[in-house]
Symmetry: C2
Subunit: 427 residues, 2 copies
């Protein structure tokens, strides 16, 4: 096994055991990036010399940090004090923030190496960047955390930061065969992270194991990492939930999810079907108005000073919606989402987690769009934590994710259940 | 009446009626500032030439904006692309953001003049800046939006932006004889505003009339301003609420509030006493842990790179608390605040607004502290909108505020009720 194939947890252990160094890990990841980047194009900014310098500084530290020597990719809407941050737009070319985002500073504090800035769609919205799917350059890696998911999926780094306002972490993570996690809304501080729509935004984590997500989550919370329980949880109570977006899934994805539910039931999980109340059909419109209204206000400066440098896609969709949305529609939409949050609480109450699709299927062909994010709308809008696991393959042999959902603030339960579920497929 | 004594609404009307120009207003405010600034010290950054340039550009506009020619002070934790933003700390000396905060861009779009940056306490926390109370240089103007409140109270500008995580808008506005408004949490976008503790932070508005608050609020929402109803509302249902902080009020403040409640009842309001459930006594500790935990994460970069430049006050209080707070205490505290939000909803349900103290009394003597913020803790923590009105005078003839509180998202009702209450004292 090459160093760049290790998970974050394995890297920290190997360095603590003096089997390798941060510099050796960084060099191996950089070599792999060099070999692969011309095809994957995951990086918006990468300075190998600066990475080696960071690695040597970490190697010189007296104690082993929670992310000691772990290379991390940072989505380019998250501020870094020693690298440009350009938000996926030519408008901010050459911008270098003064201060690290809180999550970047906490990553460095734990010994993590800021590998570089990963490609984001324009302002973390729809207009795609240059990144390709690691397994098929003709396909999208998904968005908006495109580079973060592609870099982790391609084993360029074991960890990356993304964000999610609709499906911007779960969708690309699922397409690229990663474990992707969106925390409970409000859980992780967003200082220094570009706001798309504050009522919906969260950070997002992308890794190749549930264990790594657990580790990095605690680092981002600024606390001593707390490992999962030493033993697997009792088989969880799982609600298998075909939302009103189910029909948008490919038949193979539907079949994979149904087989998965059966497989987990055979393994001892208490699996039962759960149907969301009809009111959840309001989610798409309500999410659209809330996110567009807020996005358009947050981009007031760019609209007024650089409108011609904004993509046609962004102008004709999110911005047009946001500027057309009346205050009454915005308020009604916020009220709808608040009601759905309460309903979601009642729905999940009977289960440990829900099992739902992460995407409609494999990453679609074409690099001018980032795929269907509908399968994240309900969970994003109701502020519940979610995780995608790379459990299936689609008809072209590309990854397809299964998404697990827990109740608000039950992120630890989500982790325990995700580990249990993942184990049933790794065996 | 001098131009600098006009309210924002009056300025816009006067310019629309061609009775004055943005440049004339700016010049008069600048002259007043020049005369008074050596005593009040409200401004962290002020470039008169740049203001005149802005004013001329506004005078050249073809149409009249909602804040046409209105000078606005901006708290120095809110980003401005053409002025430094230093967050009240030497650590960020010389920092000039690339982009305006959303609320600054929206202010400019409406024709407002960004007059300059007003003094903030260090990182909008406790360690005070140089500002004095406009009516007594030996007294604090309150904090953390010290300069914004002093500038408006002294008629240097008719409007200013602040922020509030505990009492940072209401308290200084009350001390300085202003109308201060904290919106429902989550209502106004905070892009480009330094995050202190995201679970509690809001923008704050400071003005000299309720009408100006209503106007500026809508500008900050990025919508066409909606005036209050043409006629006063029916006398409101008012809950007179002596919280468990009541005993911290001076006797004169208690007497003023009691007289106020009687006066409003005589004017037709349905005033009744309301007692908060005992659980609200948990608010102080819960607020302390949530705000400290989040603040310490948000300042991770400054802690790791500039610890010696952080004030002793901040290190020994907020940061010490934040770094000592366990994840369990943080979570419990968040749960307590979430419960109190639900209880608050039930409490307010029977009223249009609550009437409560804004501060313990007049601005206290001494410039090394910013006064008691306890009277804002409950309302800040429960995310409800609040407004202070300059209704009383204390024993030294200095302003004392009455605070009105409405239910979450009932900001318009708060405005209507505040106008009704204010009218009973202006008559």
């Amino acid at each position: 096994m090459k160093l760049h194939d290790l998970t974050a947890t394995q890297i920290v252990e190997a360095i603590a055991d003096k089997k390798t160094t941060a510099e050796a890990v960084a060099r191996d990841c950089l070599e792999h990036i060099e070999a692969r980047e011309s095809q994957v194009k995951a990086w918006h900014y990468l300075d190998p010399d600066a990475v080696i310098k960071q690695a040597r500084a970490v190697d010189a530290r007296a104690s082993i940090g929670a992310l000691h020597g772990v290379p991390v990719g940072i989505k380019d809407i998250i501020d870094t004090c020693d690298m440009p941050t350009e938000y996926g737009t030519p408008i901010h070319q050459g911008h270098r923030p003064r201060v690290d985002a809180a999550v970047v500073a906490l990553t460095r504090r734990a010994g993590g190496l800021i590998m570089g800035k990963t490609v984001t769609t324009e302002f973390a919205n729809r207009h795609p960047g240059k990144t390709s799917h690691p397994q098929d350059p003709a396909r999208t890696p998904g968005g908006s955390s495109s580079g973060s998911a592609a870099a982790v999926g391609d084993h360029m780094v074991p960890l990356a930061l993304g964000t999610q306002t609709t499906g911007s972490t779960i969708r690309p993570a699922a397409y690229c065969g990663c474990v992707g996690y969106r925390p409970t809304w409000g859980e992780i501080r967003c200082s220094g992270v570009m706001e798309a729509a504050g009522s919906l935004d969260t950070l997002g984590l992308i890794a190749r194991s549930v264990e790594d997500i657990v580790l990095y989550k605690d680092v981002m919370m600024g606390i001593e990492p707390q490992r999962l329980s030493p033993t697997l949880m009792q088989p969880p109570r799982i609600g298998f939930c075909k939302t009103h977006f189910w029909d948008q899934c490919d038949l193979t994805t539907q079949k994979s999810l149904e087989d998965c539910a059966e497989h987990l039931a055979r393994a001892g999980a208490k699996v039962s079907a759960v149907t969301l109340p009809a009111e959840f059909e309001q989610v798409e419109q309500a999410h659209r108005w809330v996110s567009s209204f807020e996005f358009a206000r947050n981009r007031a400066w760019e609209i007024d000073h650089h409108y011609s440098s904004i993509s046609q896609t962004l102008r004709d969709n999110r911005l047009k919606d946001g500027l057309a949305c009346s205050i009454q529609t915005y308020r009604q939409s916020r009220q709808i989402l608040a009601r759905l949050r309460r309903s979601m609480h009642d729905v999940i109450n009977d289960f440990d987690v829900l099992l739902v699709p992460a995407t409609s299927g494999e990453a679609p062909l074409g690099l001018n769009a980032t795929g269907n994010a509908s399968h994240c709308l309900i969970w994003t809008s109701t502020h519940v934590p979610s995780m995608t696991l790379p459990l299936f393959k689609g008809p072209h042999g590309l990854p397809v994710g299964a998404q697990l959902i827990a109740a608000r603030n039950n992120d630890r339960l989500l982790f325990e259940a995700a580990r249990w579920v993942h184990k049933q497929f790794l065996a």
